[in-house]
Symmetry: C2
Subunit: 420 residues, 2 copies
């Protein structure tokens, strides 16, 4: 049998839909990145008969079985005793685990409850897979030649930490990891997924690296994924493709991997040593929140004015009441005056404003839900405005999120112009 892994998630709460199975996704992605084939995943409840059926089936078709869940102290946590029973070995108490659990309770000023004693029982012959974050250790166990089992708790943080700290190094040392998969995500704003995909159609047929389009939250993405014997070799496959795609798509590509529109704008402002303020109507503070989600944003972001009510637009942002009356709050003119008003009030180099109709109410034939104007005041006294018509039927959160992102993208493009 060629090497292949199988994921078995144990827990009645999964079958009831109480929990989203993010553990399966995490392990699946990790197996893919390590180049370990993986063809099946299954979920079973806290039921010994059905757990054994799942194990019996998995042993026939895979030689690395990864279990999550069922390691807790309660009577319905059955993973280890069921595995011991299936492979006909007894459970053995590990004094060092018991001491570790007692110490963890003592750290929190609590006494270990008798039920936790169960977590120190492992199948005979199984090695401890340590859990630094919780009380339930996992196991690494070869119950018979050529079959490797690992168990993890259901708590995602504990599972992920145990996987990274112990399971991956073990698999590498045992020769399971034949190649490395490295991905780079390119992120785009201002073009649709299909428009992006059409522009890079010739790259989508590559086999190594592969190039795959994604979309989420109004943003288009391209994932470039390479497999190679080392990270450096994989990066060497990725880099020419990344460079060529960026050159072709130009300003629409705003960043890679962990970049956000706010972090990219922040880096540009830091570089130019300039400051920013915001004036928000329909987004109610969302743009400021997005900007300040970036640690260190106090170096360039001074603050803003949330002008949800028109009186605030007039009194604090000095929007002309006559213009407000004539053009309406959702207009290019008001957006520009809001940006100028907050730029003056906070004495910043740049200012961004947003005014729009987030819905569900408030739309009209001429100004439908989803209509949003963004204003921008530049350090040289210029003003710009951008009109957007977002899909109002996708809801209030959608319109507000896209408004904030579009405002940041408008500023980003200005900051990147040589003569901004």
């Amino acid at each position: 049998m060629d090497n292949s892994a199988e994921i078995i998630c144990i827990g009645t709460e999964l079958l009831l839909g109480d929990i989203l199975n993010s553990n399966a996704q995490f392990l699946a992605r990790q197996l893919a990145s390590l180049g370990i084939p993986h063809y099946y995943e299954s979920v079973v409840g806290d039921n010994p008969t059905r757990i054994k059926q799942a194990v019996a089936l998995a042993c026939e078709r895979s030689n690395l079985l990864l279990f999550t869940g069922g390691l807790g102290p309660t009577p319905d946590d059955l993973t280890l005793e069921t595995l011991a029973d299936f492979f006909s070995v007894p459970l053995v108490e590990h004094p060092e685990i018991l001491a570790d659990i007692e110490a963890k309770f003592a750290q929190r000023g609590r006494v270990m409850s008798p039920s936790n004693r169960k977590q120190a029982l492992l199948p005979q012959g199984a090695a401890v897979l340590p859990n630094s974050l919780g009380t339930a250790p996992g196991i690494i166990w070869e119950p018979r030649r050529g079959l490797l089992l690992m168990t993890f708790p259901g708590v995602p943080q504990e599972m992920q930490s145990m996987w990274r700290a112990t399971a991956v190094p073990y698999l590498q040392a045992q020769g399971w990891v034949k190649e490395t998969m490295v991905s780079r995500m390119l992120k785009f704003w201002g073009l649709s997924e299909s428009a992006m995909a059409e522009q890079v159609a010739d790259y989508l047929t590559l086999s190594n690296p592969t190039v795959a389009p994604y979309a989420s939250h109004g943003e288009a993405k391209l994932r470039i994924t390479a497999r190679a014997s080392s990270t450096a070799a994989a990066l060497a496959l990725i880099e020419p493709v990344e460079t060529a795609i960026k050159a072709r798509l130009g300003l629409d590509c705003y960043g890679t991997d962990e970049d956000t529109l706010a972090s990219v704008v922040g880096a540009l402002l830091l570089q130019s040593q300039q400051t920013l303020a915001v004036a928000e109507s329909c987004t109610g503070g969302g743009l400021g929140q997005m900007i300040t989600a970036v640690a260190g944003s106090s170096a360039y972001f001074l603050g803003g004015i949330i002008a949800y009510d028109n009186a605030v637009k007039v009194n604090l942002l000095h929007v002309d009441p006559a213009v407000l009356e004539r053009e309406g709050a959702v207009s290019s003119e008001v957006a520009v005056q809001m940006a100028l008003g907050v730029q003056a009030a906070l004495k910043t180099d740049w200012a961004l404003s947003i005014t729009g109709i987030a819905g569900p109410a408030g739309g009209s034939d001429t100004k439908p839900v989803g209509l949003v104007y963004i204003g921008l005041a530049t350090p040289t006294g210029q003003t710009l405005s951008f009109k957007h018509e977002f899909a109002g039927f996708r809801g209030r959160d959608w319109v507000r999120h896209l408004s904030c992102c579009s405002a940041l993208d408008g500023l980003r493009r200005q900051l990147l112009q040589p003569a901004a």
Copy 2:
């Protein structure tokens, strides 16, 4: 065989971890709410041999098989042809489906590509499970007596809409739904999950309704779930328990189900016909965003000032520079002055302020990351402040989110006091 359902999700993208399997959770929860037992879930890739193995196994142990994924137009969408092959029937083209697909393309001003023709092919004997949102229909099929299959596309919105519009009514009409499960979620702020659970320990052992504790994003929750022959009968089981728990936990219970702290505060302000403004430092607009996430919030929320930089606190909120110097920006005194400042500037009845250290930088021994002060100015000229020490090691987003929620909760408790 007793009735039981099994979920089979098809898609190599799931095995690669590219997609979080939210479809399995949705269907699992739906099955639970309909009282249809469900013991297994599995995931397989776009591979006919492995799909057939999964079907063969599922047929042996379940009599309602729900498939998601693999209904698209591309060559790796294999669900229907594999099922037809497994049950030895041919695929039959349905002209009415073809016409529907062509019409959907025409609506978007596009021409149907030849590959979409495939989506009009269904196994002989299968009924159409219509898809109003996309081009790929599903099927409802009894390939042999006592075995019911339904297929859904992998796109969650399409799958959910098809499930609700057609699959559930069909299952009800066919006698699959023996009982109804109804849940009510009680939501708490200001006490931990364990403190909450201890206070209602006697309820956690009930069997119908069941009462189960949850926690997410700093919030404690209790889910009361009843099974009965009708929704009304289930609600009659829930209501006395809900009333008793609310009476016992008092103000800590802020709402139920779809309520948010912001929606509850909004309803109280609407009721008292009062207005609100915010002054935000470390949350950068997040409190305003949370408040304005509620549709109709313009009736009571006028706006606010994002005073990220100290100069904004002094110039726009009129915080005393001497106090700022002496106490520091993160202090009870500055929080109170910020609230008073924004109350005066926006002329509102109530004002909330937040100043704190969100991290990761900026903390000290006396003022660690996670220290947050909330200020509140009341309509009668009183001021209050609340000090919080959130777990800074849980990160910037955590501290900011809890700050916004705690500010709203502080206001909620004041609004509920008879003599506020």
